[in-house]
Symmetry: C2
Subunit: 230 residues, 2 copies
């Protein structure tokens, strides 16, 4: 059972705390203000109102066994630096710190943050990439120049099996999912569509009209496929 | 050539503007303050200092042809709502708005935002997931319960081809990349390692000692593979 310390309960800190708890980890959540502590205390293992720059208070929490600490203090750069230094001195093994700017981030790394996260920059790049790919419904950068993309399909692919479509040999991409709308009849007789994704479909799976395909490949190869589909 | 309007040049707005520009789009960047406009003007198509709640100023920019507008105003909730309404009235086809809380986000959606993004929540969940998977070096949620994960390998896989490893039949996962360190000799004779990822490796590619594998599969299947590797 993993145990984590989250310091700072703004949107980022709350989101980390709740997700960790949802995934069955123990979370000690700290904030200097009363309201965020009150709001979260029924959801996490322990919620404490205290100033995390106060090293003796931090030490009193007996956090030697936490797997990692997440410093989620936003605007106050000096506090987040001081808290990082405190956690380092208390020998916390993995310190993840939210920075608000790259300069703030490099200071944090110098004082011992194992990982620095700048949510606005990460999400900003992701949003930019999503906007650039219109025929592409959604896109994520995976690694080097490979992306994951969800594409609309056109009649060139409908009613063919994945094997027949030859994604790998023609486009050097792999199909990892098919998103399809399944009609269901409600009690009052009307039809509604439930969207579901078939993950890692087999070679004999057939692509149907209106299916969206989820693929992985290099940007240039995905572009070629998009042109082919259009 | 796509054209975008970005309103608000904090970290999020800057990051969207620069990424769009890097990907060869035209960007009109707006901020009420002088410094962010000055800082970005050499990098984007056009940078304008103005208050975006002023609809006639916005109209004067002739933004009928933008593909989308990104409202990146952070703390001032009323301004971001007002700007969204203005953009709606100017018939901008795709309005993406950064919200700071879910409540703020639902208001924005009600007044016409096509997409609402809360960077701290998205990144918070991602960081939580990364922390929970120690043997897993990195992890991304892809769709339904499928994740992309980068795993260390152990001797069970070294010097076997991908075909011999039988990832698909034994674990129901697919291997989409191999991350490897390639030694290079510097001019002074010392060795340094350059990390590179082999994307979509073929079935005959061999996994070597210290390789990291990038795989896709359902959480439960990835867990089984992690147990097998450990
Ligand atoms: N020294 C400190 N000790 C404990 N908590 C702190 C300290 N300094 C700041 N905090 C808390 O950190 C939380 C997040 O900080 P802040 O509000 O500055 O960032 P934010 O940008 O609103 O956060 P987010 O971006 O995550 O929404 C606040 O609730 C604040 O009370
Ligand atoms: N009405 C407005 N018109 C134009 N720009 C505005 C308006 N209101 C706010 N801005 C600008 O939006 C920018 C970002 O807003 P703000 O600083 O509140 O958010 P932030 O949380 O710092 O941003 P980020 O999270 O992206 O770093 C600021 O530079 C601000 O000047």
């Amino acid at each position: 059972m993993k145990q984590f310390l989250v310091i700072g309960l703004g949107q980022f800190g709350q989101s980390v705390s709740l997700k960790l708890t949802e995934e069955s980890s123990q979370v000690i959540a700290i904030d200097a203000k009363e309201e965020p502590v009150e709001a979260i205390k029924d959801y996490v293992t322990l919620a404490v109102q205290m100033d995390a720059t106060n090293q003796s208070s931090l030490r009193a929490l007996n956090i030697e066994n936490v797997n990692a600490a997440i410093v989620a203090i936003g605007d106050n750069h000096e506090d987040s630096v001081l808290v990082t230094i405190n956690l380092r001195e208390l020998r916390v093994p993995n310190i993840i710190v939210r920075a608000s700017t790259p300069v703030h981030g490099s200071i944090l790394r110098k004082v011992g943050a194992d990982r620095v996260v700048i949510p606005e920059m990460l999400t900003g790049e992701q949003v930019a990439m999503d906007l650039l790919t219109e025929k592409v419904l959604e896109q994520k950068i995976l690694f080097s120049n490979h992306i994951l993309a969800k594409l609309k399909t056109s009649s060139v692919f409908w009613n063919k099996t994945i094997r027949e479509s030859q994604f790998r040999s023609s486009f050097n991409i792999i199909l990892v999912g098919i998103e399809r709308d399944f009609p269901e009849i409600k009690d009052d007789g009307t039809v509604f569509y439930r969207t579901s994704t078939i993950g890692l479909p087999g070679e004999d799976e057939m692509i149907k009209e209106d299916d969206r395909i989820i693929v992985i490949g290099q940007d240039a190869d995905i572009d070629r496929l998009v042109v082919y589909i259009s």
